[in-house]
Assembly symmetry: C2
Homo-oligomer: 459 residues x 2
């Protein structure tokens, strides 16, 4: 065939008609979530007071490999999907590498990231259930922006607890969410019991994702007609995000390519889980052996240095417990501009796949080296990446440079999950040389590990 284009774009009709549920293929399913009251595996009725009923069914679905995407959701997807797969010709040239680098760009919508894929889906099911609204938390603001857009489409009220430090540092993110009609509350807030307790104990708290989750859940379960929605970690979210990987595989097939290495940043796991989906299916069935790398910040190293244990998903310890790689629910990472990667835990699915060796490697990278890569990428490819996505860029560049040494022409696929338009203060810090790195000591981490619950007979 002729030269591979810069952008491989599928037609609207090629948007997948079903999501891929990796759990149906996993050799070992992840351990069940536990009800924090009984410490027994959660059942549907434990979760329906918190989450939309259809989403609970998806959360617990271990048998269906494919779950149909509702026609109305697909119509909304068509407003911004299929997303393009880029061949990084300019980056390859800048690196002088024989590697072939591809990236799936999910930032080409107003929310600026892949989060919209799940936000629209969750808002759709909330609407179908006849709810009035939903609550959630947001850190960097990508998820909050996506959810505010989705709720606007569906005519739902949307209450967003925004980690206070982001609320104060990102007024423009807040402005976008408000333009779409969402209510934004700085967390910790005095609107919830958990927020008030946190403020009493730590009046100067700048907040954390874990606390914001606790507040959002509290409001959802105590308000008639509301449920809580979450932008990562959960099985349902990885399910919705599988559209990224499914599209990527179709696009690569069109140009007769298949990735040797698949690289994604991992905070709660929604981006990597989505990107790898179709390729993990091949790996689990033995059809292919792509090498998967999860990239995380050295400042919040849940996979590379965390424990594989049952832990709470939130700081307030009101959510079910999940078996996952965790730094402890009270771990509050040092200030790091990649707000979307500051979560203490990791998707149970990704945790299990990593534990079992299907995700081959987790790699922690430092912030300044991430921004060095971000800038190199921006200057070569023209797209300003989100700090989160730039973690994947860092490792993709490193792998491409290895190819340069060995002369191998590997095919690398990474996820460019979002743009950096709302992270320019971080770029300013990098440009001015004031950005620093932070790696927690073993002692720092021990404080969090000490808070991981010890459950007799379970861990």
């Amino acid at each position: 065939m002729s030269k591979i284009p810069y952008r491989i774009t599928l037609s609207e009709e090629e948007i997948p008609k079903a999501w891929y549920n990796v759990r149906a293929d996993m050799k070992t399913d992840h351990r069940p979530m536990l009800n924090p009251g009984t410490m027994k595996p959660v059942i549907e009725s434990d979760l329906t007071p918190v989450f939309c009923t259809e989403l609970v069914k998806q959360e617990l679905n271990v048998k269906d490999r494919f779950i149909e995407i509702p026609e109305e959701v697909r119509e909304y997807y068509k407003m911004f999907r299929p997303s393009p797969l880029y061949r990084a010709y300019a980056l390859e040239k800048a690196l002088g590498t024989p590697a072939k680098i591809y990236y799936k760009f999910e930032g080409g919508n107003t929310s600026g990231s892949h989060k919209l894929n799940s936000a629209i889906t969750q808002a759709y099911y909330a609407k179908q259930q006849g709810l009035k609204g939903v609550t959630t938390e947001t850190g960097a603001g990508q998820w909050g922006t996506a959810l505010s857009m989705a709720c606007n489409y569906m005519g739902l009220d949307c209450k967003i607890f925004m980690v206070k430090v982001s609320y104060e540092q990102k007024p423009y993110r807040k402005a976008v969410m408000e333009t779409y009609g969402a209510s934004i509350i700085a967390s910790p807030s005095n609107t919830t019991n958990i927020g008030r307790k946190m403020l009493a104990d730590h009046p100067d708290s700048t907040g954390s994702l874990g606390t914001a989750i606790s507040e959002a859940v509290e409001v959802a379960v105590s308000t008639e007609g509301y449920r809580y929605v979450l932008g990562s970690v959960l099985n349902q979210v990885l399910l919705h995000q599988s559209v990224i990987g499914l599209e990527s595989k179709i696009a690569m097939e069109k140009i007769d390519e298949y990735p040797d290495i698949v690289i994604g940043c991992a905070g709660g796991g929604s981006n990597l889980g989505g990107l790898m989906s179709a390729f993990m299916a091949d790996k689990l069935s033995g059809k292919a052996k792509p090498y998967f790398i999860a990239v995380e910040p050295a400042s919040c190293p849940s996979m590379t240095r965390g424990r594989f244990a049952y832990d709470f998903c939130d700081t307030g310890m009101v959510t079910p417990l999940a078996k996952m790689y965790t730094l402890g629910a009270t771990f509050i990472p040092s200030s790091n501009h990649a707000g979307g990667l500051r979560y203490h835990g990791m998707s149970p699915i990704l945790s299990q796949l990593y534990h079992d060796g299907y995700i081959d490697e987790a790699r922690a990278v430092e912030q300044t080296s991430v921004f060095e890569a971000a800038k190199l990428f921006a200057k070569a490819e023209g797209i300003l990446p989100a700090p989160e996505s730039a973690h994947a860029i860092r490792v993709s560049i490193d792998e491409a440079l290895k190819c340069k040494e060995t002369g191998e022409s590997k095919t690398i696929l990474f996820g460019l999950s979002g743009t950096g338009y709302f992270d320019l203060s971080a770029y300013m810090a990098y440009n001015s040389g004031t950005m620093t790195d932070y790696i927690p000591t073993d002692e720092d981490l021990q404080t969090g590990f000490d808070m991981i619950p010890k459950i007799p007979g379970i861990q």
Copy 2:
């Protein structure tokens, strides 16, 4: 055929191979620019000290209908083009209109607007000429961002005079330009004679595009190996931007559509000039009769209330004079968030086409009604528009609502020239109800008109 998709995307190979030069088809060419020293029509040697030589040739080219796009420029175009043509199904539904609304979205690149089309081209020719760098001005920052990306690609130095009010209000725009390696100077500055004079006369000046142009030109002509580049107004810029209209026509042909109405915002004219190109060709040759509407802010109404006269292109009165619709080179528009539409003049090509009736209508709209339209559009279509582009949205909505009254199913095409990611303070002002409108009085305008030079025998 089956249902028209949400996005009509061309293949890379369908990017035009030549720009369209509308001057070759105009019934009456625009009046020549005048050398401000001699008041005689400019010739190539008048302009080459200021502009790149090849660009001067394009500026003065009145005979070639098509000018080939260099292969290297097309390669850069492929990194972000073809841009998608959207069918605004959601907006149509929100309005309940029988009109069919299409928009060409030029904001899907990191510069956030159509400006990159000409920036890459101008930087390419500067590089071909062996220059060290270029100077320019930027208001809202769209052009400066595009040029900083383009100069980065070509390895050129880039000095940008940024209107002081934007420099102070848009630190993130500045951060993007600096990430791409440009030097940003707040204008008026003490680095030029014109800037120093302006500061001496008006120490508190927050700057204007006209002054920033004067400063950038001064530096270009007085620095070895530098030339000045401009993001709008000039013939060469409209030429490069013709790629927008050429692609739009190809895309519409694919779905068997043709616009009844073509709508674009017009500040200096590059967006509207680009969008209308291929359709204006049809109108000039008598093949079709699309109705063209130029939209401008009521606060800076050069076409609707300005004079059609020879005037300077800059406040410092050092540039050639152009016959155009103008409010006077000293006209400084009141604070208006659509920074890209605050220019006192208008492209000579568009001015002539409007004067001769080929652009059917110019319409001035007020800021709050523009943001009302911007928000309606964002909520329906999911894309947060730039304030400039939202002027075109306002009029497109108004035309679609007229169709609702009359029952006509007109086909409307408008230019969504950019995104609003860097204009969120304006959205915040609108959301909080503090945004106000401003319409200059006739007396306000007279002050500017009084400064339009009176040239014996010419006007």
